[in-house]
Symmetry: C2
Subunit: 204 residues, 2 copies
Amino acid sequence: MPPASRTTSPSRPTRADARRNHDRIVTAAADAIAEHGAEASLEEIARRAGVGSATLHRHFPSRQHLLEAVFRGKVEALCATAADLAGHPDPGHALATWLGAVARHAAHNRGLAAALMGGAHDGDPTLGAGCHTMIINAGADLLAHAREAGAARPDVSITDLLTLVNAISLAVEGEPDGAVQAGRLLTLALTGVRPAGDAAERAM
Amino acid sequence: MPPASRTTSPSRPTRADARRNHDRIVTAAADAIAEHGAEASLEEIARRAGVGSATLHRHFPSRQHLLEAVFRGKVEALCATAADLAGHPDPGHALATWLGAVARHAAHNRGLAAALMGGAHDGDPTLGAGCHTMIINAGADLLAHAREAGAARPDVSITDLLTLVNAISLAVEGEPDGAVQAGRLLTLALTGVRPAGDAAERAM
DNA sequence: GCACAAACGGGGTGGTCCTCCATATCGTAC
DNA sequence: GTACGATATGGAGGACCACCCCGTTTGTGC
């Protein structure tokens, strides 16, 4: 982040080769991450993109920045889905559907769960508008509506739910039938282990 | 694994220095893992133990083997807890209590969740009797009893439950109030997001 | 005490992440 | 069309890592 120059002009427009390299790196990263997961080698990504490793590090000072760039599109899609579902007549169902969509995206896009998870708590405030924050804001409305409709406990937060979804996604990542497992576990977590219809309130 | 020698005698008793080094490595690993997590540097562990890195690799051919050795005691304790709880009058409560104990152990012993998680699906059959298997066998009884008592759905497996617990434990690992978060999320997953007493069966 | 299998560990290989800085390139003002 | 300066580049190098080879040391049964 260059210090705001003295003139009103925003320093300079990004150079064309820089923009080109940026895009090539993101593309290469998407491939490598799909293949090897979120911990894919940065050296290899640079190699695939045909740039020096220093260039990669200049464009993306941390792995998290790179993940954010790779998955921004997917995250925006999930946010849009949340917006669509916000007006659904059954808010509880809408929330569950959306969380399922998050899990499905994570199952089909290796590394997405890590990108969603990492955002806030790695001490870098410059990632404020990152995927983590975006997805939380998107889900907050759905949860609020569900709560109003009595379909969600008042003491559960959207952070809880997304942590759960991402934890599940990470746990089954790499498994052959990951998407199925993730769906099972998410349903389990949302509805509880007790048989449906058993309303017993226990001390636990 | 030395090929079974021609004689009936089990080749040879382990040499004293080997046993000593083994123990020093496990101790050093416990410290390092508590400090840096399950991904702690093996070189550093060898350094702390005062042995060459080759010695560490000879004793523990993979990181998973080392984790198993470090946490075997804790896992046995959890298995014993499971055995104690097996006769509890309320099997549903017993199961929940035990899963809570697993989470609590994981929160207090960094790396334990990783040890429990890694066991089966990394292609090494020699880890058959590893922590993963031990804990599954221990929990299976509790789940079976809970199911008989109608306190657990018939379609949920012990693997599901342990995956959930470990996923949660890994997700909150390193967080300042990790133990509290893990407890919250586990309770949430076990009882569902709907308010207690809401027995509505939804299509979802 | 001796012989020998068992265990050891220094040092090498090839990998990672990240940084420095001399060089090449782009965009612009002329 | 050219020259210039800011911007961007990438190879080389440092620090670290997992893992392995192989000459050397050490423990043990006789």
